[in-house]
């Protein structure tokens, strides 16, 4: 069966999760630089990046075609393509895979939109279990403040406007992010997420991240992919 679960591939999978504005992408980019400089083979994969699904997602967002169920399933489709194309093969080849957002993003968002918790988890059962899943936790007001300054115009689905929680975009976004944060908090124990306090300075967070990732790295990973046969 195609269900990866605890993989036995030689590579390692590190993922970052957190609400919008938690700073997770910045942290992952810094980690990426470091691993490359150290000589490890690294492969980067991000949410919503499947070439087979991208156009469909873009069109659906523009024309507002999604319901919570189809939003969930199309993102699962995208994630499946990422898994089959960008996650399993590099792991088999012994590389380090870095993923910006993973299944927990779907669990948080889709459940916040009203999808059944067990159903969403079942849908993603084929996913590979990460070596470490970092959860960058920023309190709601901090995250919203960061988003507001960086992206003044919220998009329809990003703000959860499809859910009719509020007519006001900013208000709707806050409600949505609050629900998402609740879901993440529940998942820390359920999936053993490694929580990082995202209110600390970028350097402090990166040091913590590197310390944890470093424990899983082995010198031989560098050779495995880089040495000519």
């Amino acid at each position: 069966m195609i269900s990866y679960g605890h993989h036995r591939y030689p590579g390692q999978l590190f993922v970052v999760e957190g609400t919008d504005g938690s700073g997770k992408s910045t942290q992952l980019a810094l980690l990426h630089q470091w691993l490359k400089a150290e000589g490890y083979p690294v492969f980067f994969s991000e949410w919503n990046s499947s070439p087979l699904v991208k156009d469909t997602t873009r069109r659906a967002k523009k024309r507002r075609l999604f319901t919570p169920t189809t939003f969930s399933l199309l993102h699962a489709t995208d994630f499946a393509d990422r898994t089959e194309r960008n996650i399993i093969p590099p792991l088999k080849a012994g590389a380090i895979v870095l993923a910006d957002r993973y299944i927990y993003t779907a669990f948080a968002r889709d459940v916040a939109r009203g999808c059944d918790r067990a159903w969403v988890r079942e849908t993603y059962k084929f996913a590979v279990k990460p070596t470490v899943a970092f959860f960058f936790r920023a309190p709601l007001d901090v995250a919203i403040e960061r988003i507001a300054s960086a992206r003044p115009n919220l998009k329809f689905y990003e703000a959860g406007m499809d859910m009719d929680w509020s007519d006001d975009e900013e208000e709707s976004f806050k409600i949505f992010q609050g629900k998402i944060l609740d879901e993440y908090d529940h998942m820390v124990n359920e999936f053993g997420l490694t929580a990082i306090d995202a209110t600390q300075s970028i350097r402090v967070q990166q040091r913590q991240m590197r310390e944890i990732v470093g424990r899983h790295l082995k010198e031989k990973m560098k050779e495995k992919v880089l040495l000519p046969k």
């Binding site: 195609i2 156009d55 075609l65 499946a80 059944d116 159903w119």
Partner: protein
């Protein structure tokens, strides 16, 4: 009116109210004549005054085009394919089938979740996993399973249709045979085995599709009439035929064509 019943977890945010339409599924492997019979049934139902919506795989507004493009590229992975089809199904269920059923339409669907399950399982997916994803599906009023006696017969029909063998219908992604023909036969055999397994589980009404189109059509009309008629008596065809009426086989007489083509109710 009938209560909505789902196989598993219903779609969130759905009004689970009784509905007055009928959901009729035509299932079966590739080349078995499903689309021909859906078209015949539609004409016949409309001529007897029923509003009909017909739908089928990859016909969703949301994902239909994306799936077709992905299939054309032949780079669709096994899991990705299953989930793309599930997205297409969910979109059609929420935006086409359920609104039409609430509005009292007969919904005729060319394939339902069973084809999707069969294809996924043949490709190594966990049968429980696929079934749970499709737990959102409404339990249909009737499922007619068109079955031919041999897969070689299917190959003949696919050729006769003029379309020839298709990459995915031949299961070429599975590497089952050296060429399209061998692969088609091997793949359709696997599918047939899955369909036969599901027959009892989902209560398929099997129809022998190796007979002439007319006989199969007559058989389907009788069975569909029965499925539709359990409360309403709108269909004249269900009554015992009198001596002056023509043979059932000749009964494809579109009387009044109702304008239900634009059946995007709701």
């Amino acid at each position: 009116m009938k209560e909505m019943k789902f196989y598993g977890t219903a779609i969130p945010g759905l009004d689970i109210e009784p509905y007055s339409g009928k959901l009729i599924v035509i299932e079966g492997t590739d080349g078995v004549g499903r689309s021909t019979h859906v078209a015949l049934l539609r004409t016949w139902l409309e001529s007897s005054g029923q509003a009909v919506l017909d739908t089928g795989m990859t016909r969703s507004v949301l994902a239909g085009r994306g799936i077709k493009n992905a299939r054309a590229g032949h780079t669709l992975g096994r899991l990705t394919m299953q989930l793309y089809y599930a997205t297409d199904f969910a979109d059609r269920l929420e935006n086409q089938m359920l609104p039409a059923l609430r509005a009292g339409f007969v919904v005729l669907t060319d394939r339902y979740i069973y084809s999707a399950i069969a294809r996924a399982v043949v490709r190594g997916a966990d049968p429980e996993w696929v079934r749970r994803i499709y737990g959102m599906a409404l339990v249909p009023d009737a499922v007619f399973y068109l079955r031919v006696r041999s897969t070689e017969e299917l190959a003949g029909r696919v050729l006769a249709s003029g379309r020839g063998f298709d990459y995915w219908e031949s299961g070429m992604d599975l590497g089952l045979g050296d060429d399209y023909y061998d692969s088609f036969i091997a793949y359709q055999k696997l599918l047939l085995r899955e369909f036969d397994r599901m027959k009892g589980e989902y209560g398929f009404h099997e129809i022998d599709a190796s007979r002439t189109v007319r006989r199969v059509a007559a058989d389907l009309r009788r069975s569909v009439a029965r499925a539709i008629d359990d409360e309403s008596t709108a269909l004249p065809h269900v009554r015992e035929k009198s001596k002056t009426e023509p043979e059932e086989d000749d009964a494809i007489k579109p009387a009044i064509k109702t304008g239900s083509d634009k059946a995007k109710a709701g």
